[in-house]
Amino acid sequence: MQKEPVDIHIKELDDILDHYLDAAGRLNYAIKIVGHPGIGKSSVVRQAAERKNFLFIDTRLAFKENIDLGGYPVPDHENQRMIYFRPRFIPPERVPEEHEGILWFLDEANRAHPTVIQTLFQIITEGRCGEHLLPDRTAIVLAGNLGEEDSTTITDFDDAALDGRLALFHLKPRAIDWLRWAAAREVHPAILRYISLFPEKLWDEHRIHPNPRGWHQVSQALITAYGIKSEKDLANRLRETERNSLEKLMISLIGDLACFDFIRQLTHPRQISTSDILTGNRGKLESARKEEILTEDLLWAMTGAISHLREQLMAQQGIPGKEDLIQLGHLLCFIATCRSDSRIAFCHLLIRECGLLTLVPGALTSIRPEGEAEKIRLSIEALLS
C-alpha cells in the first residue's frame, strides 16, 4: 500500500527542510516532495540549501541508469579487479570547506528507471552510492510528479519498503507565499496585482496551467523580451488588436483560461467584485438594478460570494454570526436585481449548497430600508413557489 503524501505549503516545507538540513547525515529518512509541474519544488529546495550554506547538487534521475550511479568501470589489469571512478554528478568525497554540508537533490525521481529507483535504497539507508561513500553531512531530497493526477509520465514507486524510508509531502502553492517570493524577484507589477486580486488564478490544480512557473515565465517575457515594464504599457500593448503575438505567447505559457482573464482584467476590468456584494456596495447595487453591470461579471462575483458564505458557515459549524446574516442580506439584495434564470440559480445555490434557507428570514431583517426587504422576500417566495 502506497503511503499517502501529506499536503503542505511552501512556508511549512521551508521549516521542515531547515530542520532536516540541521540534522543532515544523522537521520534515517529522506524527504520526497511531489507536486504538479511548475509549482516551485526545485526552487524551494535550492533556497533551503542557500539558507543553510549547503553545496547544492541537482541530479536529474530521469537521465540515469543504475550503472551510472555505481560509477564508470575501469579495469585494473595489474590487480585483476574493476575500479569504479566516482561520477561527477554525485556528491564529492568531502564537504567543501566553504560549505556546511551537501544537499543532494534527486529531481524527477518518478521518471527514473525502476532499477535506478532501487539504488535509492542504498543512497538513503547506507549513505552510499555504488562503491562510493557519501560525506557525513549529506542530506538527500527527492522530487517528483504525481503521474496521472498531473498528466505526467512517471514510474510508480509503489514500494512500501522505499516509502518507509521517505517523508512524503505534496507541495501545494499558495498565492501569499508566491507573491512574497515574486516581489523579491521583480516579477511584473501587473502580474503581482492580478494574483493579489485573484489568488485562485495562480495555480489550477486540475488543468496544470496556469502554475507559478508559467506566471514567472510571462513576467520574464514581458520585462526581458518585450521591454514592457509597467502595467499601463502592458494594457496599451494588449489593446492593440492588430498585434496579438504577445497574447498568443502568454496563452502558450499560462493557458487560455488564465490568459484571457488576465488580459480582460487589464483592458476591460471587472465591474463588480465578490467583496462589493458582501459589503453591500450601494453604488454597485444601483448599477445592477439599472442593468449597467455586465452579466458575466455579476455571475462570477455572485458565485464567489456564495462560496465565501458557504466556507464561512462550514468554518463555524453552520452557526451563523451577525456579520454572516448581514452579508447574506446584501447578497439577497443583489440576487433580486438579477435576470430570472440567474435569480433561480443563485437561490438554488444558497438553499441547496449552503443550506441557508432557514437563515433567509434573519437576513431579511438586516436589509435597509424595510420596504426593500419586503420586495426581496416576495421575489424569493415567488421563486420557491
Binding site: 568501470p73 455586465l294 458565485t303 435576470r339 434564470d341 441547496r352
Partner: protein, 472 residues
Amino acid sequence: MRPVLHSAWEAVLEELWKQSRFTSYFYQSVQFTQTSTVPTLALSMDSMRPVLLYNPDFVATQNKDILKTLLVHELLHIVNGHDHRQLKDHEPYLQNLAQDMVINSFLRNRSDRFFSSSDGSASSLIIPEDIPGIPDAFFEETGEKDPTWEMVYHWFGRRGPESLRIFSDAIRDMFRDLKKPPRNKIPDKGMVHYTDEEENQSSEDKGLIPEGLCLVDKKGEALPTGTHLFLGTMEKRQLQAQLRKVMDLAKNDPMTPEDRVFETLSRMMTAITRFQNPPWERRLRSILDRNTHSNEWEYTRTRFNRRYLPHGIYSSGRMFREKELLTVCVDVSSSMTTAPGEMAKAFGVIEGMLNRYRVNLLCVDERVFVPRIRQNKLEKQQDLSRPYFYRKGDWKHLETGNSGTTFFAPLFNTYMKKHRELLVVITDGYIHDMGRLHPYASTLWLISSSRKEPFEPPFGKVMAIPAESQHA
C-alpha cells in the same frame, strides 16, 4: 447596442434552467444585447465577454421553443469549434451551410429526448422544419451517422457541377451577407430588419454592422436560425475558454450529472474525467495488473551495453519486452444507457495503462464487432481477425443504442476461444444468452451504475462502476 433583455427571453431562460443546467449556466454568463445589426441572433464577444446579439423584432415573432433551440444551436457551434470565417481553400457559403446542417441534423437526431430532468423524464427540442439539415442522400452514400461539417462539405463538393466553386456560388442565394443590402425588400418591416442605410437603424448601430452571413429563404427573408458572425481566431478561442469555465461552474451543481446536454458536450469537449476519489480506479487498476504482466525495459545478459563495450567492458544491456494485450469489450446495445461519465470513468483507467498494454477494442450488441474510429467516427468491422487497438479518446465515439438486445455468445463462444488475455467487459449486465456462455475465467465484468439489481457473473470477477454521487 444596449444590453437589454427582451421579455421573451425570461420564460426561455427559466425553462433552460429546469431542462439543462449546463446550457443555463452558460447563458447566465452571456450578455443579451438588442441590436438591429443582425437579422436573427448571434453569439459574439464584446469587451472579452460573451454576448448574444439579438434582433428584438425577430425574437418577438418566435415562440419560446424555437428560441430555446436557437440558444442550443449557437452553443453547439462553439463546442464544435466552427469557424464561420472563410477557411483557407474553403468556399465560405458552402462551409457555413455545412456547419449549420451538421448541427441541425445533430439536434434532429436527438430532439425527442434532448433534455433530461431530475425525475428521469426527458423533454424534446423543437426544430423548425424549414432550416436545412444534412440531405438523406449523404447518409445513404456514406453510411456516416454523426459527420463533421468537413465531411458534408467535401461530399457536396464531389457532387457539385464541375467544381466546388460553381456549386458554392449556387448556394450563395441561401445566404445574405450582413454588409450588403438584401436582395428583396420585404414589405412587412415588422418581420425582419435589414442592415442597409434605409432601415430605421439607431445611430449607435451605424457603422457597427458585423461581418457575417445569415441563412434566408427564397424570398430573402431570414430563416429562424443563428446568424454566423465572422469572429477572429482569438475571439473564437475566448468563447471556447468561456465554455470550459462554465463547465467548471456547472460541475458544482448536483443536478449537472443528470444533464443529458452536459454529458453530450463533455464527450465532445473534454478528455477523460479525473476523479477526486481514486480508490475505485486503483482497485480496477490492481485487478488489471494482477491478471496481466506489464512490460518494461529489462536488463538481459543476451545484450551488451553499447556504452561500455568500446572500452572492452562487458555490461548487461536493456531489452524491450512487447506490450501485453488486454481486450476490452463494450456493450453498445440500447439498454446500456450509461449514466453520464461512466464510459469516461472506465476508460480513464484503461487509458492510464496504454503505455503498458495494447488494448484490443471490441463492441457487442446482437453481434460482436470490431469498431474502427476514423475521422472521429465509429465504423463497424465484421472481420474479427483484424483487431482495432484502442487510442486515447476513442471512448468518446462509442455510442450506445445500436440495438435493443445483447448477445454475448459470439464473444465468449467463438472470439475468445483463440485468446488467453484478460477480457474487460463494460456492460449493464442485461444479457439475453447468459446461460449459453462458455466460461472464460480471465473476465472482469464492469457493470454500469444504472443497473439497480445485483449482477451475478457466470464466471470471472465483477466490479460496479460507481455512480457520480459516490465520487462527490
